[in-house]
């Protein structure tokens, strides 16, 4: 007993003693140049992609059948003043590329023009709704990260009938589209059991949480299953790896092995993939918002497509795409800078 505990103590001291030394050496070795160059390259790529995306969103106006003006008005009876206002807003008397840069300049100042239906500035219309979307996405992200990672880790660490059936369930859940999950959840918990409200956002506070429960679960369910499976695979792979086998055969306590060897090595790739999955929730939230009538950007987007309010459609599409690109880039930067095993050399995509 004393024998094993003393070996453990030595082993612990050895490993803990080595850690600060290693980090210190790594810090001394790591020059800032490559990191800054990498950051600059990533941010440059981000700006390039954003520019292309904004060009596509603006240029879409010219892909539509008919002239831009007739597309924007869509055969509605519009007053001459409104037409003049649209012409001024899109600078339709200018060449295409000039129109684009004037529009882009406005977007960069937070000016998306005026809504054709409401007449109000698009920015203020979006500002009233962005909060609900952010709440839904945040709630779903928390569910994905907490439940997905926890289920994956435990299923990975404790192989057996329970973990196998949980993973089989996760595989099945990955085939459930968000809107199907929403319909089933609404049927069971809102209609049959009457535990949850089926529509709207409710009063701020507890009411909002209650109203967000079903939508966020419906939005998150596929991603929870995906992250759980991914985490389980990563943990299993770590457990089979040589350094973990060595640690086990040296008789190190399993808590220590799990914390120091398994979680630490599996964490980075798993967190990166989980982060990308969370960024992917943005697209799914449009449908979920529409089903539960949450009054966010997604519902407004569908509404504006139906009412042919193109300035609003452009603005929301651009915001979604920009958020998606920024999140992806941030996760990529964090992954590369935080994980010392990833080389900062030229990145092959």
């Amino acid at each position: 007993m004393t024998d094993t505990s003393s070996t453990r103590a030595i082993a612990t001291r050895r490993t803990t003693g080595a850690a600060p030394n290693d980090t210190a050496r790594a810090a001394r070795r790591a020059p800032w140049g490559p990191a800054l160059a990498f950051l600059a390259r990533r941010i440059g790529g981000l700006l390039g992609t954003m520019l292309l995306a904004s060009f596509v969103v603006f240029g879409a106006l010219y892909l539509a059948p008919g002239s831009p003006l007739s597309f924007l008005t869509q055969g509605r009876s519009v007053t001459p003043e409104a037409i003049a206002q649209l012409e001024a807003q899109y600078h339709l008397d200018q060449p295409f590329i000039v129109q684009y840069f004037i529009w882009l300049g406005g977007v960069l100042r937070g000016d998306f023009g005026a809504s054709i239906i409401f007449g109000d500035p698009v920015t203020s219309l979006l500002a009233q709704r962005v909060g609900n979307t952010a709440l839904l996405l945040a709630a779903a992200a928390v569910l994905v990260l907490v439940i997905g990672l926890a289920v994956g880790f435990f299923a990975g660490l404790k192989p057996g009938v329970l973990s196998e059936s949980v993973m089989a369930l996760a595989t099945a859940a990955m085939a459930v589209p968000g809107f199907v999950a929403a319909v089933v959840l609404m049927l069971v918990f809102a209609v049959q059991l009457g535990w949850m409200p089926s529509y709207g956002m409710g009063e701020p506070g507890i009411g909002t949480l209650q109203h967000l429960a079903l939508p966020s679960i419906a939005l998150a369910i596929t991603s929870i299953a995906f992250v759980a499976r991914l985490t389980q695979n990563a943990v299993r792979a770590e457990m089979k790896s040589e350094h973990v086998q060595t640690a086990v055969s040296r008789g190190l306590p399993s808590r220590f092995i799990v914390r120091r060897h398994i979680i630490r090595n599996a964490a980075m790739p798993v967190l990166t993939a989980a982060g990308l999955t969370v960024a992917g929730l943005i697209a799914g939230s449009v449908i979920i918002e529409q089903i539960f009538q949450l009054g966010g950007l997604g519902q407004f987007l569908i509404d504006s497509v139906q009412k042919k309010d193109f300035p609003v459609v452009q603005a929301i599409c651009l915001i979604y795409v920009a958020t998606f690109i920024v999140l992806n880039t941030l996760i990529d930067i964090a992954y590369t800078l935080l994980d010392p095993r990833v080389s900062l050399g030229k990145k092959t995509s």
């Binding site: 992609t49 539509a64 459930v176 589209p177 992917g280 449908i287």
Partner: protein, 290 residues
């Protein structure tokens, strides 16, 4: 004696797997494969056996319970749910098939061209692919609906464009590995044209991976198209379609008549689960062979 029995028993054991159409995907893969075949058959020949007009409205029979006349009941307009599910399987499956076919063709072309020419061609293609990748499929389709109005065609083309980067990235990285192998240089030294080498040597060697990933894309495209039809941007009424049926069944859900929405949901989930499992197994198989 023992050795002859060993040989005698070993031979048929080695031969049986060859009887399977698609070896190397495991039992789960086989179940998934035959489920996909069954769903495809449902769409291909099922509609021939439908005796009732799937679009015939009869408000007297709204939400009629399952019975010999309506095997799965009737929907809010008194239309037969079973015949709508069977006829709707065509729209539900042909849409994603068109998306995947277009995306696979375009993606493979882009990937092979990028790898063969390299340099600025590759850099440009990668940049464009990255930019398209930033647009989630659903968002491209919604933008297309804003431009061209609701309908299956615009949604299908939009999704095909949105899915092209998935295939292009996979083809590019797989073809890049092939490109650096000695046999390609050998062919080049012999004076073979780059197009011929790409089409006749690189493409066949990466085709397993392409088919596997196209299968995975089919599942995603089915979900996206069903979601679009669900919110009314894809297939237009009265055409039967699984996604549109879930959407049409929403009012039934709130009135406690969930039959239509649940039946269509179940078919979507079974199909996507089978297609995804098959795709996973095919990816594993092509990775094992590589």
């Amino acid at each position: 004696m023992t050795s002859t029995t060993a040989i005698a028993t070993a031979r048929p054991a080695a031969r049986t797997p060859r009887l399977r159409i698609l070896p190397g995907i495991g039992i789960t893969g086989q179940i998934a494969f035959w489920t996909v075949i069954a769903v495809a058959l449902l769409a291909a020949i099922g509609p021939m056996f439908v005796q009732v007009d799937p679009n015939a409205v009869d408000l007297e029979y709204a939400y009629y319970p399952p019975s010999p006349w309506y095997p799965l009941g009737a929907d809010a307009s008194g239309r037969d749910i079973l015949s709508r599910l069977i006829v709707g399987s065509r729209t539900a499956l042909l849409g994603p098939l068109a998306v995947v076919t277009m995306a696979t063709f375009l993606g493979t072309l882009l990937g092979l061209v990028a790898v063969w020419f390299g340099g600025w061609v590759d850099a440009t293609i990668v940049r464009v692919i990255d930019a398209i990748f930033a647009f989630p499929g659903i968002l491209v389709a919604i933008l297309a609906t804003a431009l061209f109005g609701p309908g299956l065609l615009a949604a299908t083309i939009a999704l095909a464009i949105a899915y092209t980067p998935y295939i292009a990235r996979i083809v590019r990285s797989a073809a890049l590995r092939e490109r650096n192998l000695p046999y390609i240089s050998a062919l080049q030294v012999q004076g073979r044209h780059g197009f011929a080498i790409s089409a006749r040597h690189i493409l066949p060697n990466v085709s397993g991976l392409i088919v596997a990933n196209a299968t995975l894309c089919f599942g995603l495209a089915l979900i996206d198209l069903a979601a679009l039809s669900f919110i009314g941007f894809g297939v237009q009424p009265p055409t039967a379609d699984w996604g549109a049926m879930v959407g049409g069944g929403m009012s039934g859900i709130l009135q406690g008549e969930p039959g239509e929405a649940l039946a269509a949901s179940l078919l979507i989930v079974i199909t996507v689960a089978a297609v995804n499992t098959l795709g996973d197994r095919l990816v594993q198989r092509s990775e094992n062979r590589a």
